[in-house]
Symmetry: C2
Subunit: 417 residues, 2 copies
Amino acid sequence: MTGFPTLVTVDEALSTLFDKTKIHEPIVENVPLEESLGRICAEDVLSPVNVPSFDRSAVDGYAVKAVDTFGASPTNPVTLSIAGSSHAGMKKDEIPEIGSGQAVEIYTGAAIPVGADAVVMAEYVRKHGDGFVEVIRQVHPFQNVSRVGEDYRVGDVVVEKGVRIRSWHIGALASLNITRVPVYRKLRVGVLSTGGELVEPGEKVEEGQVVNSSKPMLKALVIENGCDAVDLGTVEDELDVVASRIAEGLKKCDMLIVTGGTSIGERDVVPEAVNRVGEPGVVFHGVRIRPAKPTGAGVVDGKPVFMLSGYPVSAMIGFTLFVKPLIEKAYNQRPAIPHKIRARLTRRVPNQSLTRSFVRVKVEKTATGFVVEPLMLTGSGLLSTLTKANGILVVPENVEGYDEGEEVEVELLDHGL
Amino acid sequence: MTGFPTLVTVDEALSTLFDKTKIHEPIVENVPLEESLGRICAEDVLSPVNVPSFDRSAVDGYAVKAVDTFGASPTNPVTLSIAGSSHAGMKKDEIPEIGSGQAVEIYTGAAIPVGADAVVMAEYVRKHGDGFVEVIRQVHPFQNVSRVGEDYRVGDVVVEKGVRIRSWHIGALASLNITRVPVYRKLRVGVLSTGGELVEPGEKVEEGQVVNSSKPMLKALVIENGCDAVDLGTVEDELDVVASRIAEGLKKCDMLIVTGGTSIGERDVVPEAVNRVGEPGVVFHGVRIRPAKPTGAGVVDGKPVFMLSGYPVSAMIGFTLFVKPLIEKAYNQRPAIPHKIRARLTRRVPNQSLTRSFVRVKVEKTATGFVVEPLMLTGSGLLSTLTKANGILVVPENVEGYDEGEEVEVELLDHGL
């Protein structure tokens, strides 16, 4: 193959992928609460109880009939007689009831006595030694009362399906005494490298050889996205070998990533191999983006086989644009809101017509605001942009470029500047 | 203790903490590249080589002397004779040198021949069958050439100390054939719960008992922040017991978190216990914030002992304000740039004078932009705000509140709306 017969846009490529793949929801596993951290919730988890399970006080003070306090002020206090007290943890029959003109001393979290409907905070009450209190501020009904089910009602969704479980979900689930959580079995994503010039990290690099950096990076990306990475090895650009590795990989994985052999002018066995393994085979190859133009994907037995560049920067862009959305679909995840920042460009960024460019940039805080330095240099696939960049500037297909000094919106990669 | 003798501001509390603690940098471990994912880099990792190690072509085309192409255009092409070709992986002595009027066919990544100083892209060259090419666009010296060390020079920092290692760092390190990475041994953070009313998740909850939800949540927070969580158990509010558990915990941990027993009006053995264990003991107790006002911290033998509320929402705020910054300091991390969004309030948010309030909010996208709904209800510590909120609105000490419809800046908690 010496060129890409049909370049497609990112949106066309994605829509083809979603159309041709049969994404199966992974199996559901019930794991102990503490092991659910970082996993993807596989079913809506519902509250088994009302929280609070009874009307309780939100403050320390006196439970009263609100109507008894109407008009109370420091100069016109209302005097109530103390009918007892209500502490957190007291049983129902230990808590006194109140009638008109009465108040019950109450603590945060304690049950509201029968007959009371509001709580006056302690600071608005003057205590007497003789069993009476003076209320100096009125309360309205249910003021300072946490009502039954106000926090969660039976059946309320506590953690939604598709949510990545974080520490605060663990806190809420534990409070409701939910100790097992339904999570998706991790998707298994296979990573296969092709290329006779590749040596594995740690091996001696002879002239003309290149360290296989994309495989460890892609495996890390797979893990960061909540999946298990399956290392399918590194093979030469031999059609038979590549095809049989892909076929083997498909047996044990939910999706595959194959790198290398997708550039113009190189011998390009990966698409041929994908087509040989099964139907429909390659569904797109060549995307109107820069870098990572040689990105492609095939589908075999409904499973996606991504064909990414062997260059790490392009591999990462291909992963983000195509692999990540399919993982999110399988897991029922809502796509994350990108963390964006507006800043001024330190120099011009040109763009090729009809191409969506992904320019890695360095965002820095200066005395006059944030500035964006494009890290383009000669090759857009420079290695150092992986570690020097902290943001990415997307130049859409219909924009010819941005001028020096122009304000642009940059997506931050990690939250450090 | 029936009140907090001295409430301090967040800034005063933090400055006291930084002042009194002796934060030791954790031990450095050298781990295999793939195991370094998510760990904190403990030393600047330097490039051992120049990348590229030689001047190489950034495109497919023809290597030339730039001066030979000056003035070239489609109507005034420059004709050069082909002196051979240069492919990626060829040895130096296999690559032809060029003289004036000559060109060498070259592929991306291949070495620039001796004598050449620029590359004309293939699309600006018309090929003849007779060993000549016509160049139709001029190039300047070093155009389309990736120069020695342009990407990394020997000694350039590839990953900075204090950075959490992500997939892209793995890619860059692998490319440089760096296979072991210095990372910090994980800090050991002990979590101890106090309170006779607590039962562990999964146990039967009798009247007056509460599930211990803060411990699993805090352990998850510790893990999310790159540390090992050490479970120090749950004990009754008995001074001797609490003090001895703290003393034991300090032997095996770098810092401790103790929850419960810090509210006004409750029996408050934790500060007493901290003071008994060692010097200087409690350094602050009671912070001008809402919720989480009863937060405190002590220092023993230079190690911080955080005293957080047993209520999960307050515990989380206490962790974020005080524990997280100390972890970041030990790891030499730069604080993350918060992910903020501007949006309009759906209702008024009041604030108490001199108090910094942390209002959990739900940010939603509407047809007219983002809106912010404060999830305050009766108690600011409601459990459901842990899972319903996707953002936090900080109301500073000098602001009396925000009005309905006012535009405020909200920090997003997780990237989903």
